[in-house]
């Protein structure tokens, strides 16, 4: 009888050691990921989708999406600012800097490729490219944040990859689903589980 009881104690000890290690690793995370800011980004994307659907010209619709990206940046920035004010780690801390610096390279790459594709008039891959690179930025930055963030990035990448399979004519739907739907869904999860 005594042997199995001692085995259970050891399992318990290992479990606690694992928990301590995971908590210590997580404590270096950027915690000010904006939940409600994400929801606002999603809503602005859905409004942009409403405008983009009315455009007959692909170029005009994509320009509309780019304006919506600027609005989303403002929403995200306000969300992060509000969350840091409530005590979460700001972008000026080491985890915050790592989060920001990991997020930037795919976004800068996306901007440059967008410029090149616009110059050549190649609009078809634009939606998938934006979703994939934005998702890649979230995945890499998410390595320095709470667990749900990289998962959100993977979902963006998956929708981006899927958009390449479908006809380019569907691009507004994919952008609305990704930048609108995913931001709202994950924003609500973050707001609920990680406080705002």
């Amino acid at each position: 009888m005594s042997a199995p009881r001692t085995v259970a104690i050891s399992d318990h000890a290992l479990e606690h050691l694992k928990y301590i290690r995971e908590t210590m690793e997580r404590s270096g995370s950027f915690t000010a990921v904006p939940g409600w800011g994400g929801v606002a980004m999603g809503v602005s994307a859905l409004l942009a989708a409403g405008i983009a659907f009315q455009q007959s010209d692909t170029r005009a619709a994509l320009v509309g999406w780019m304006w919506s990206a600027l609005v989303a940046v403002v929403c995200g920035g306000i969300g992060i600012y509000r969350k840091t004010q409530s005590g979460d780690q700001s972008l000026y801390t080491a985890p915050g800097r790592q989060f920001f610096l990991s997020f930037c390279p795919p976004i800068v790459a996306g901007g440059l490729v967008t410029w090149a594709l616009f110059q050549s008039g190649s609009y078809a891959p634009m939606a998938g490219l934006w979703l994939m690179l934005y998702g890649a930025g979230i995945v890499t930055a998410g390595a320095f944040s709470v667990r749900v963030v990289p998962i959100m990035g993977v979902c963006f990448m998956a929708i981006g990859a899927l958009s390449f399979v479908f006809s380019p004519a569907w691009f507004n739907w994919f952008l609305a689903g990704g930048f609108g739907g995913l931001h709202i869904v994950f924003g609500l999860i973050i707001a609920r589980r990680y406080g705002g």
């Binding site: 001692t6 050691l17 301590i20 908590t23 210590m24």
Partner: protein, 121 residues
Amino acid sequence: MAKSNAATKLTPLSPAAGKVAMKESQEIDRLIHEKVRLGIVSALAASGPLTFSALKTLLETSDGNVSVHTRKLEEAGYIKTDKGFEGRVPKTVYTITKAGRAALEKYLDHLEAIVGAMRPK
């Protein structure tokens, strides 16, 4: 059920190893043995001072849980609480004390001793 079945399949301990494991487990600091309190002490030991909100986010727990457990740790002298304002927003920052760090190290030693006693020789 599956867990207890798996446990019974393991090689039984020698009486000496069993005694060591039992002794270590009895000497464990019950105050930081509780999961949320252990998480608070571990996070503060690893990252330095953390706010109430950051602790809540990291441990994925409620306001009430953080309040209750930080108060217990503070009463034991394991953490220090600084309450202030940032602008008009109240801000509570927790820092681990020397006693808290020592308690965590001792707790880790106990866990390692238990695991070590279980290791086949």
